[in-house]
């Protein structure tokens, strides 16, 4: 089974700077990783994904990087905005089983 670890419970950055959120995984066999953002009192919303055949995927201010040799992926937000303050979850999808495994989440605070 895939395990997904987000080792930083929280991150604080200044508005306009880069936010880097990290995620480690254990099983080299995977299809997709996804990042979700969650505001208080709301459900998580999908942000960006990356497949195992890519090293990078970019969508506007959000870029996800994949380092397969290190079993590590990271989400970069540039420039960070106060509205980005939320909990960010990294998740693996087991396409065969159809279920997602989530990390514990990282709380990002972007200070004005």
């Amino acid at each position: 089974d895939q395990q997904v670890k987000q080792n930083s419970p929280s991150l604080s950055v200044q508005e306009g700077r880069i936010s880097i959120l990290n995620c480690d995984y254990t099983n080299s066999m995977f299809d997709y990783f996804l990042w979700y953002k969650k505001y208080p009192a709301e459900g998580p919303t999908f942000l960006i994904s990356i497949s195992s055949i890519k090293d990078k995927n970019e969508d506007g201010r959000f870029t996800v990087f994949l380092n397969k040799s290190a079993k590590h992926l990271s989400l970069h937000i540039v420039p960070s905005q106060p509205g980005d303050s939320a909990v960010y979850f990294c998740a693996h999808i087991n396409t065969n089983a159809g279920k997602s495994t989530f990390g514990d989440g990282t709380t990002l605070t972007v200070k004005p």
């Binding site: 987000q6 419970p9 299809d31 997709y32 996804l34 979700y36 009192a41 709301e42 459900g43 998580p44 919303t45 999908f46 994904s49 497949s51 979850f89 998740a91 999808i93 396409t95 159809g98 279920k99 997602s100 495994t101 989530f102 990390g103 514990d104 989440g105």
Partner: protein, 113 residues
């Protein structure tokens, strides 16, 4: 946009009560899921379903059951609520297929006293 609706935002129940959490999605998605979210533990999968009347256990199914009688509706049942089931419960649906993201409802905050 996909809409996943959970019937209650907040529930307070007593220990031993039978509790029903309801979830409806409007996009004809095949897959539906129930997660619980607890501080420091992320989202943990309780049960999921690929089709009507089908269900699969997730990582923490003990003390829970589910029902999917119609494609759009997926119910989570706590047979006999206990205080350790106090949590935020999140329902999600997905189209299925490679990389298909989950679409979540806004959650039900359940407190068992």
């Amino acid at each position: 946009d996909v809409k996943v609706t959970q019937s209650s935002r907040y529930l307070v129940k007593r220990t031993g009560e039978k509790v029903f959490l309801e979830c409806v999605q409007d996009m004809d998605h095949e897959n539906m899921f129930w997660y619980r979210q607890d501080p420091g533990l992320g989202l943990r999968l309780i049960y999921f379903s690929y089709d009507v009347k089908m269900k699969e256990k997730g990582d923490i199914p003990e003390g829970y059951s589910v029902s999917r009688e119609k494609k759009e509706r997926f119910s989570l049942i706590l047979e006999s609520a206990s205080t350790n089931q106090t949590s935020m419960y999140l329902c999600a649906s997905s189209l299925g297929g490679a990389g298909s993201p989950l679409h979540f409802g806004n959650g039900t905050r359940l407190t068992v006293t």
